[in-house]
Symmetry: C2
Subunit: 315 residues, 2 copies
């Protein structure tokens, strides 16, 4: 089977890439950087000593540093892959140790609050170009990563006004070489788009799993047995990293509350249709939502395989 | 690769099985009945002439009847697989043509209202034992079915008080031979359990896809591009058959409204946590919901593979 990531580059884009925070995203990045030869050298750092030990065993980087400062020393690309709430403190620690001319980026799921937390700690000599690869699974930790996580997914760059076009072009080339499509937008718009496509879906998934767990009339065992009826898809989302998601909601509060308000209004209208037995209204909405699914499949953001390949192989 | 459904039975459980309504579930049933030799003869009927024509081409049944009455003639097992709202009318049509001693069952996702609609039309000489296989995909139509759809899923029987134990045992054996686990419960309890494990999850999936489609600040193209952040899992559910789901909500109104009320209360509390920036409260809920996911995987109702096998094979 041909490697869908394509062959390595002839010459690396960067001399030394430093990845700070090595969970699902960070370890996937390290893997694809090596696989595609995007940097001559890869240094990683994680705040957890256990993760650092695991990283030495996994050997997906050239250097497992013992401090963020040591990891970024000499790096011309630094990518912060820590939880959103930890970004500011990391920026404060690495700020004085960054190489002049380095590109500093991140992979955070919110952008406005990260920019506010990180930018003040960075010297004027570096290019800060925030980014968000919209990719992931419900797994976390360095063992969960894989090189093709970003393939055919979208990475959104939110460069500040007046950003150096050469630095933006280089970071764009970097992400394209991971297999991702790249788009640029303003941080506030990013936060609104992600609130509806990611943050509110996660919130309501967490919420219904919580509601089901608290019922007295229906046992937890019943919820689990009959989850194939739809519920289990929500539990997948609701199994995502709790700390990461706590930080996302705290740091994209306004956009999430705005989109949650729309969702609740619409749900109230739907509830009213059921109470009034408005079959036509229900069928109309249910028909409309099918078309959106079709577009997502057509644009390669999903497979049309029924049940996500849960269909047994021997059938 | 061994066939996970196991070898056919030595002798069939039924002489003639009639399946009325042949979409995803009905056609999966026809396929597994033939594969496992559960009935000597399979007759099918669908209200759509196009579907009947397609069924003749698919050749998954011995007889494609031109009326429900013709399909059930001589059948000792009759399974109604039509949308919930059509069950009563079908029962009225087949009632006079049912063979004495036949087992009449269904696969409807609600039970109390189907029993109320169907039972009055059936002669006292048949055994009416409602059933609900909790299995499915977002696909519909006779081409979408496959023989192992019910494998390791649960089928819930809701026999009326005083039902013939031999008929219940025979229908239980039938479902076990499709690969399903079988459980028995009261119709009202079934409707409550399914409201939280299936009906409300579908409703909120339809709702958020509708909310996203109606936004002015975020384009439909953006919603589709960045759906990998969580939204796409909801679109899968929201692509399910609109008529089937309209009927489910109209026919399980009370239980759905009750569970929806709980969901909304919990969502309001969660919204309040975000507004008040209660990080501890958020993290607590998000941690709790992970455990439920674990149980679902442990009990075989889901695979632990990240991203449902979306992870590329060449990685």
């Amino acid at each position: 089977m041909p490697d869908r990531l394509g062959p390595p580059l002839g010459a690396p884009l960067f001399e030394r890439a430093a990845i700070i925070g090595v969970g699902l995203i960070g370890s996937s990045l390290a893997r694809v950087v090596r696989r595609k030869g995007l940097a001559r050298e890869i240094a990683v750092y994680d705040a957890s000593a256990n993760v650092r030990e695991r990283l030495r065993a996994l050997a997906i980087a050239d250097e497992v540093a013992d401090s963020p400062a040591a990891a970024v020393a000499g790096a011309d690309l630094v990518i912060l892959c820590a939880p959103v709430g930890a970004m500011g403190e990391i920026a404060r620690q690495i700020g004085p140790h960054l190489k002049a001319g380095a590109i500093v980026s991140d992979v955070g799921s919110v952008k406005s609050s990260i920019i506010a937390a990180v930018a003040p700690h960075l010297p004027a000599s570096v290019h800060f170009i925030p980014a968000h690869p919209v990719a992931g699974t419900e797994q976390s930790g360095p063992d969960a990563g894989f090189a093709s996580l970003f393939l055919n997914r979208w990475t959104i760059l939110t460069p500040p006004e007046g950003a150096d076009p050469k630095a933006v072009a280089l970071l764009t080339a970097f992400w394209k070489n991971t297999g991702a499509n790249v788009e640029t937008m303003a941080p506030a718009h990013h936060d609104l788009v992600l609130a509806i496509t990611s943050h509110v879906p996660h919130l309501i998934a967490y919420n219904i799993v919580g509601t089901a767990a608290d019922l007295e009339e229906v046992t937890q065992s019943e919820v689990i047995k009959y989850s194939a009826g739809g519920f289990r898809d929500f539990t997948r989302i609701a199994a995502s990293d709790p700390v990461m998601w706590r930080d996302i909601f705290l740091n994209n509060k306004d956009a999430v509350l705005e989109m949650l308000g729309r969702f609740s209004e619409d749900l109230t209208a739907l509830q009213r249709m059921i109470r009034r037995e408005d079959g036509e209204g229900l069928e109309g909405l249910f028909t409309r939502t099918r078309a959106i699914r079709r577009s997502i499949i057509d644009q390669g953001q999903e497979t049309a395989a029924p049940d996500f390949g849960r269909r047994p192989k021997d059938d």
